[in-house]
Symmetry: C2
Subunit: 126 residues, 2 copies
Amino acid sequence: MPTPEHMTEIVNRYLGAINAGNMEAVMSIYADNAKVEDPVGTEPKTGADILPFYQRAFAGGAKVELTGPPRVSARAAAFPFHAEIKSVDGAVTHIDVIDIFEFDDDGKVVKMTAHFGPGNVTRSEG
Amino acid sequence: MPTPEHMTEIVNRYLGAINAGNMEAVMSIYADNAKVEDPVGTEPKTGADILPFYQRAFAGGAKVELTGPPRVSARAAAFPFHAEIKSVDGAVTHIDVIDIFEFDDDGKVVKMTAHFGPGNVTRSEG
């Protein structure tokens, strides 16, 4: 069973990896059989499709920041954060998101679900 | 399909019903076949077990408040909130929670999942 301390550390490592633009470090949190449903309600990405998804999403760079404490239960962490995602044209997309990580026995994330919708997204020109 | 406006309204109605101590109003958001997994990882409550669960949880009264915007996607709303729950002995339990509501076609909540753990709970004496 993953500990609360481990799950919290993984949340912080994930956000730090996005801020550093290090998508290989993002991938290191995931189990080989992980599913990434981002946003919730879309077909989950699996396997070799996950890394290109992150590379596309954060091609222009991003700044992510927790907006409240991670809620860490027996096998899951839910955390609210704000993302500022830069486009190559200089525009910035602001998104309020809640991600859910579900963990396996080895402490790897087996399922990520990202909650947000059009009402959580604003854009500003760069 | 439920609209984003409807889902946001249901979140606000739910929190308002808890603050008002009106557990019948809480129940009105749920479909007949709803499941309530609170906290996540425990056996979901269903049917006639849901109302007594809320009555027990909030017997001493509670104050709940959003701590960020609801994240509303195609069929779900995720929302961060803070709860202060009073015990009959006067103690107050403070909890940081993230709830997920999943909606059916009629706009009723068919699944509620509450994310929190021991690290999200503090108690103060009344």
